[in-house]
């Protein structure tokens, strides 16, 4: 027996799935798409499998998730549907329920989060609700494992008896007449493709292209469909989609008024509504967001993060000096001493000093996330993102990209349409990741100390503008078309949880430290080796005679037009492909300095203008190999990954060239 578990996002579907199946789960993909599919065997019923379908809001064919769910329910014909409904947001959840009922499959509604409804003083008259909607209804609380046994019993009984919904007709008036007329018209066609005639009729009224194509109506029949729908629109004075939505919501409203005793609106909700009046205001929302981000950056780079990084840098310098002293005292070989001090300590230390900066930045970002503010920002950004052909849903992966491009690229799986997903993957690397922070911090400390926070903000804004520019370009070329409609939950504002903030900071710090002592450590050793020995493995007296210099000089002419044609800067950029932090550790090793001496060493390699050009190039050029691999994996294409690298390097070179040349004109 196969059961399909369907419902909106964030209604507790995964929690229910886990309660039903325990650890008997199998994760895969729906064929042909990157939408994840989870199957599980129901505990205590070895012959019953439940399929966790993607969270959706309707059965329209806009997104991969909706198409996949619809195809599964129509073609797969599960023995029953478990429709999980969030009882605290019952009106919105029931919109999908009515469409599922039209599929004419045995179905049970699981009313979830009933514990919260009761705690807020509300209740639902289950027997009356069940009678009106025509399918069995079971109240549950998935998180507390309440009602699950009863749900399983009801579903199995409904599926075994093949008990179809007792009613499917929720409409009246013009919509009712049109749907019935079309259901009769397309009955034979619908039965041929094993689709319930009423479901096919409502989809035709909605203007569902794939359904129209699948039914293979004659031209005459298509004309009749057009005529009936036009008449309905004229009679109601509204378009077809609004007419159907009105019909469904009218039924839902009437049903809820008779059977749902609403809880008193919580004070958290009232507070959230008041705050949203300001924070999502048409004119104030974006200035407020920019102000908040500027404050975060100022506190991170101008005050707290800087102070703590300087402290740590002092500590690392002290440890390095102590190690150097000890090695000299033991009379160690100069090359071995150089490996330890100029290689390991200088390279890894130059990156480690930025741990506090990264931790402080993510401390503030996680507070903003935990309060619920970032969900509002995604909503506010929707209008802006639509101008470049994306929806507000793309904002979340892009925001993650400010941390690391890899999870950001993976997070695009939550996007509705394949077009939006690919475009977001290509634009996300423009969001400057936290691995580049050490580069920005060292250069701003060396060249723009008084205006460090301003330069940081400028770089992030440039990255965003570069993403927007690329978005416009892509929208007019490879990604023509419009983004899908955007629906999202706005949780109540709340005090951030100290535990989740601390967990995030710990996770970030641990990841940074692991990376520093693995990837950066290995890259540092390799760089030290290549710059200490020549091609005959003799120790060189000057780095410019080393193996690394030969490689660096090969690429250096590429960067001469950008103002930093020195082989050391080009070599550093190349090592940045392994991990962006490696740019700093490479520069430290190649300039023969330690943590504290790096800013002074850089001022011998760069001028303020060429330093800013270098930063511009670093901001925009290829992401690290891990991010490129994530692109390859998510786009399922090596060509796409190579394309991303070439596009970003080319884009970075052009912008850096313009910055340098225009800067020369201004500065002289």
């Amino acid at each position: 027996m196969i059961l399909g578990l369907a419902g909106n996002q964030n209604c507790g579907k995964t929690t229910l799935f886990n309660q039903l199946t325990g650890s008997n789960q199998h994760v895969g993909n729906f064929p042909g798409v990157t939408v994840e599919r989870k199957d599980g065997v129901v505990r205590g019923h070895r012959d019953v499998t439940v399929v966790d379908l993607p969270g959706i809001y309707s059965l329209s064919p806009y997104s991969s998730e909706e198409i996949v769910t619809r195809d599964f329910l129509l073609s797969g014909r599960p023995d029953a549907i478990i429709n999980i409904v969030d009882a605290t947001n019952i009106e919105r959840n029931l919109y999908l329920s009515l469409q599922l009922i039209e599929l004419d499959l045995p179905m049970v509604i699981a009313l979830n989060m009933m514990d919260e409804v009761r705690a807020n003083g509300g209740t639902i008259r289950i027997a009356e609700f069940q009678k009106e909607i025509g399918v069995p209804v079971v109240p549950i609380s998935a998180s507390r494992n309440e009602g699950i046994a009863e749900l399983v019993e009801t579903v199995l009984e409904t599926a075994s008896a093949k008990r179809r919904p007792k009613r499917q007709d929720f409409c009246s008036g013009a919509v009712h007449r049109t749907v019935h007329s079309l259901a009769h018209l397309v009955e034979d066609h619908a039965q041929r493709i094993h689709v319930p005639p009423r479901f096919a009729a409502t989809k035709l009224v909605e203007g569902d292209g794939p359904m129209l194509e699948a039914l293979r109506l004659s031209e005459n029949e298509k004309d009749m469909v057009r005529h009936d729908v036009t008449e309905m629109e004229r009679e109601l004075g509204t378009d077809r989609e609004a007419a159907l939505a009105d019909m469904r919501y009218s039924f839902i409203e009437a049903l809820c008024s008779r059977t749902v005793v609403k809880p008193a609106e919580s004070k958290e909700h009232r507070r959230s509504v008041k705050l949203d009046g300001v924070l999502t205001d048409k004119y104030l929302a974006i200035p407020i967001f920019l102000g908040v981000m500027m404050l975060v950056f100022w506190l991170t780079f101008g005050v707290i993060g800087n102070f703590l990084s300087d402290l740590l840098s002092g500590g690392i310098t002290a440890v390095t000096d102590a190690a150097d002293g000890a090695l000299r005292a033991y009379g160690t070989n100069p090359v071995v001493r150089s490996l330890v001090i100029d290689g390991v300590f200088a390279g890894v230390g130059s990156v480690l000093q930025f741990l506090p900066t990264i931790v402080v930045l993510f401390f503030f970002l996680s507070i903003l996330e935990d309060t619920g503010y970032m969900a509002r920002v995604a909503f506010v950004m929707d209008k802006l993102l639509r101008r470049i052909g994306l929806s507000g849903r793309s904002f979340v992966p892009m925001l993650i990209g400010f941390g690391c491009s890899v999870p950001a690229i993976m997070a695009t799986r939550t996007l509705s349409s394949e077009r939006d997903r690919k475009m977001t993957i290509l634009l996300t690397p423009f969001m400057s990741c936290s691995a580049k922070l050490p580069i920005y911090a060292v250069f701003t400390a060396a060249f723009f100390r008084e205006k460090a926070a301003f330069v940081m903000i400028l770089l992030y804004v440039m990255g965003i503008l570069a993403g927007i520019g690329s978005g416009f370009l892509m929208r007019g070329t490879v990604f023509r078309g419009n983004p899908v409609p955007f629906v999202m939950e706005l949780p109540n504002y709340r005090i951030p949880s100290p535990k989740s903030v601390l967990l995030l900071i710990w996770d970030k710090a641990r990841g940074f430290l692991v990376r520093a002592f693995t990837v950066i450590f290995a890259a540092t050793i390799v760089i030290w080796f290549l710059q200490t020995f020549d091609t005959r493995f003799n120790v060189v007296s000057s780095g410019s005679e080393s193996m690394l210099a030969i490689v660096g000089r090969f690429f250096a002419p590429l960067f001469a037009p950008l103002g930093f044609g020195d082989w050391r800067s080009s070599t550093a950029l190349i090592t940045g492909f392994t991990a962006k932090e490696a740019v700093i550790s490479t520069l430290a090793v190649l300039t023969g300095t330690d943590v504290s001496g790096l800013p002074a060493a850089l001022s011998r390699l760069f001028t303020p203008l060429t330093a800013f050009t270098f930063l511009t190039f670093t901001l925009l050029y290829t992401p690290c190999v891990a991010a490129v691999n994530a692109v390859r994996h998510e786009m399922n294409s090596v060509k796409s990954a190579v394309g991303v690298v070439l596009y970003q390097c080319g884009f970075a070179w052009i912008v850096a060239f313009l910055v340098y040349q225009i800067g020369r004109l201004i500065v002289g």
């Binding site: 090695l327 160690t332 071995v336 490996l339 690391c404 999870p407 996770d507 693995t518 450590f521």
Partner: protein, 50 residues
């Protein structure tokens, strides 16, 4: 080069070996990004059948 030099070289070589081994072994694991919003949160490091 004295015994201390060889000890130091051996130590660095061992650390390098373990660093590379860790990076290679865990290359498919957590990207050490922001897990809280990641759709794969809780599944990193698990090898699942396709």
């Amino acid at each position: 080069m004295g015994p201390v030099d060889f000890v130091i070289l051996a130590l660095v070589a061992a650390l390098l070996f373990f660093a590379v081994r860790h990076a290679v072994r865990h290359r498919g694991d957590s990207c050490r990004g922001d897990c809280s919003r990641c759709p794969y949160h809780g599944n990193c490091g698990k090898r699942t059948k396709k």
